[in-house]
Amino acid sequence: MEKIIKSRVIKYGDGVNTDVIFPGRYTYAIMEPDEMAKHAMEDIDPEFQNKVKERKIIVAGRNFGMGSSREQAVTSLVYAGIKAVIAKSFARIYFRNAINNGLLVIEQKEAADFIEDNDEVEIDTEKNEIRVRGKTFTFPPLPEEVLKIVEAGGLINYVKEKIKREA
C-alpha cells in the first residue's frame, strides 16, 4: 500500500450503489481489466473516464457500494486507476471486497462532508490522516487482523504467508 496518496478527487453523493459503479449487464460478460475499467461508473457519471485520468480518489456520502456482492464494483475502479475511496459509510460487503482487492477504503464523515469536487487531497496511510485545503482529518486505523490482510495484498496471500511463518 502506498504511504501517501495525493490526487484531486471526484465527488459523489449518498448511496452510490454497485449497479451504477459496475452495471449488472456487464457482470461476467466482461472480464478483461481494461474493458471493465471502461464501464466503471458509466450509469452515474458519463464523464468518469475523463475525470479518472487525473483524479485517483473518490469521495462519497453514505453507504457507498450498497447492493450486489459483485467484486467487479471494486476491481473496475481499481483497474480504472482509483487508489482510494473516502466515504461517510460503506456497505459491509463492499468494504470487505475492497480490502480483499487492495482498494483503500476510509470511513470519515467530516472529511467526506468537507471535501469538495476537484479538491486536492492527501491521504497519509501511516499517520491515518487526510489533508485537504489546510485542514487535517484523522481516521481510525483498520483492526489489526484486517490491516494484516491489506498489507499482505489480500486474504489469500495473508493466510499463505501465515501458514509459511507457522511452518
Binding site: 450503489n17 451504477v20 450498497m66 459509510s89
Partner: protein, 417 residues
C-alpha cells in the same frame, strides 16, 4: 451478559470470543457460488491452489440462477468452467433450472437453522428466515472459504426493531418490509444484525419472513431474525425436509445497541418508487402511474404462496391490454406446486408469461428489461437506476402487482377485490 441470536450462532461456530467489534474466525457449514461469482472463484482457486482439493466437497455448491440458461456464449463458457471444476472436485451443481440458489439450498436441507452459510449473493442473508447465519461475499472471500471452510468476520452489533400494531390482507409482508425501510432507510441498521419483534412480524408465515429478511440487505444490515414460533418450527421442517436442527433465541439480558418502534396499525399497501428501495409511498399516492411491465418473482417474492396470492386477485379478471405480466417462481419446487394446483395454467391462459425458475430480471441476467420511458412494477428488492433496464422500476407486493396488471396503473388491491 446474554447473547443476541447472531452472537449465539457465531459462538457455536468459532473458537474466538464473540463480542461486537471483535474479528473472529468462523467455521462455515455451507459455501456456494453462482454463475456470476462462480467463474471468478474458479479462476482465483486455480491460480492460488491449483488442483488441490476443496475443504469439503459435500458442503460446497454451485447454483446457477442469474443468466440461466446462458444467453450469450461468454456466459455459457463461464458456466461450463464451473461445471468442469465441480466435476473435478466432486462438488454438486444445482444447475440451470433449479432456481434461486439460497432458496434451493434451504429447500434441499443443506442450510438449516443455527448453521452458517456464505455465497456470492448479496441476499444470502435471506437464510435468516430459517434462523441460519448467511452472508453474501465477493469472489476472493468465497474462493478462500472453498479451500479452508473458514472466513474472518467482524461480529456485528445487534439492533432491535419493535413492530407495534397489526394490518390486514391485502397488506402483506412486502408492504411491511417497505414501510420499515421507509422509516429506517439505510443508516439505522448499517453493518448491524437486526432482531424484529412484535405480533405483526412474529405471526408472519415462513414465506413472509423470507420477504422481510431478504431485504435486510437494502436496510444496510448484516442479517435479520424474527424469533421462531411453534408454527415457524413446523414450517421450517416441512420446507427443509429436516428436523435435526437447533433454533437459537436471544437471551433476555442480551445487549442491543439501539431500539426503534414502528407502528404498522392499519397499514395500507406500500410502493418503493425510483431511485432506491427506501423511497417508499402509500399506494394511494402513486395511483396515477401508468405501467408497461409487471414482474412477479425474485428471492424476495418468488415463493408459491406469493404467486398464489397474486393469482387469487387476478382470477376471473383480464390483464390490461398493453401490459406485459411475467411470472418467475423462485425454484422448481415452487413451480411444481403451482403447476399441480393449476395456477400456472390459469395465469398462462390470462396471457401471463411463465419463465423457468431463476432470479428473473435481477442483475439484468434473465428476462425482464425495460426500455427508455417504460415503467415496470417488480416484486423484487432493488430499483436502482439501470438495475432493470433504462426504464423506471417500482417495488411492490405480489398483490399490488396483480391488481395493477388488471388496471394498467399502480393500484390498491382493495380496488379490484
Amino acid at each position: 451478559m446474554g447473547k443476541t441470536i447472531v452472537e449465539k450462532i457465531l459462538s457455536s461456530h468459532s473458537k474466538d470470543e464473540v463480542k461486537p467489534g471483535n474479528i473472529i474466525w468462523l467455521d462455515i457449514d455451507v459455501r456456494s457460488a453462482r454463475d456470476f461469482g462462480g467463474p471468478n472463484v474458479v479462476k482465483h482457486y486455480k491460480e492460488h491452489y491449483d488442483s488441490e482439493p476443496v475443504d469439503n466437497p459435500k458442503k460446497t455448491f454451485f447454483t446457477f440462477d442469474l443468466v440461466a440458461p446462458a444467453k450469450t456464449i461468454k456466459y455459457a463458457i463461464n458456466q461450463s468452467l464451473c461445471r468442469r471444476f465441480a466435476r473435478e472436485q466432486g462438488i454438486k451443481v444445482y444447475d440451470v433450472g433449479y432456481g434461486i440458489g439460497t432458496h434451493v439450498l434451504m429447500e434441499e436441507g443443506h442450510i438449516l437453522p443455527g448453521k452458517t452459510a456464505v455465497g456470492t449473493d448479496s441476499h444470502y442473508n435471506i437464510v435468516g428466515a430459517i434462523g441460519a447465519f448467511g452472508q453474501g461475499m465477493g469472489d476472493v472471500d468465497i474462493t478462500f472459504v472453498f479451500k479452508t471452510g473458514k472466513t474472518w468476520f467482524e461480529v456485528p452489533k445487534t439492533v432491535k426493531i419493535n413492530i407495534k400494531g397489526s394490518f390486514e390482507y391485502p397488506t402483506t409482508a412486502k408492504d411491511l418490509t417497505l414501510y420499515i425501510l421507509k422509516h429506517i432507510k439505510t443508516e439505522f441498521a448499517l453493518g448491524r444484525a437486526i432482531e424484529f419483534y412484535g405480533d405483526a412480524v412474529e405471526s408472519l408465515p415462513l414465506y413472509g419472513r423470507i420477504t422481510l429478511l431478504s431485504m435486510v440487505t437494502e436496510m444496510g444490515g448484516i442479517i435479520g431474525y424474527v424469533p421462531f414460533t411453534e408454527k415457524t418450527v413446523e414450517e421450517v421442517k416441512a420446507f427443509t425436509g429436516r428436523d435435526d436442527f437447533e433454533v437459537f433465541y436471544a437471551d433476555t439480558d442480551a445487549e442491543y445497541e439501539k431500539e426503534i418502534e414502528i407502528d404498522v396499525s392499519g397499514l395500507e399497501s406500500q410502493v418503493a418508487a425510483p431511485p432506491h428501495p427506501h423511497n417508499v409511498f402509500p399506494v394511494s399516492e402513486l395511483k396515477d402511474v401508468k405501467v408497461d411491465m409487471i414482474y412477479i418473482g425474485s428471492c424476495t417474492n418468488g415463493r408459491e404462496e406469493d404467486i398464489e396470492s397474486a393469482w387469487k386477485i387476478l382470477k376471473g379478471k383480464k390483464i390490461k391490454d398493453g401490459v406485459i405480466l411475467s411470472i418467475t417462481p423462485a425454484t422448481r419446487r415452487a413451480y411444481k406446486k403451482l403447476m399441480e394446483k393449476g395456477i400456472l395454467q390459469d395465469l398462462f391462459d390470462m396471457g401471463a408469461i411463465i419463465t423457468n425458475p431463476s432470479c428473473a430480471g435481477c442483475a439484468q441476467g434473465h428476462p425482464g428489461m425495460t426500455g427508455e420511458g417504460e415503467v415496470s412494477l417488480n416484486t423484487s428488492n432493488r430499483n436502482f437506476p439501470g438495475k432493470q433496464g433504462k426504464g423506471e422500476t417500482y417495488l411492490v407486493s405480489p398483490e399490488v402487482a396483480a391488481a395493477s396488471a388488471i388496471t394498467g396503473r399502480i393500484t390498491d388491491p382493495r380496488e379490484v377485490l
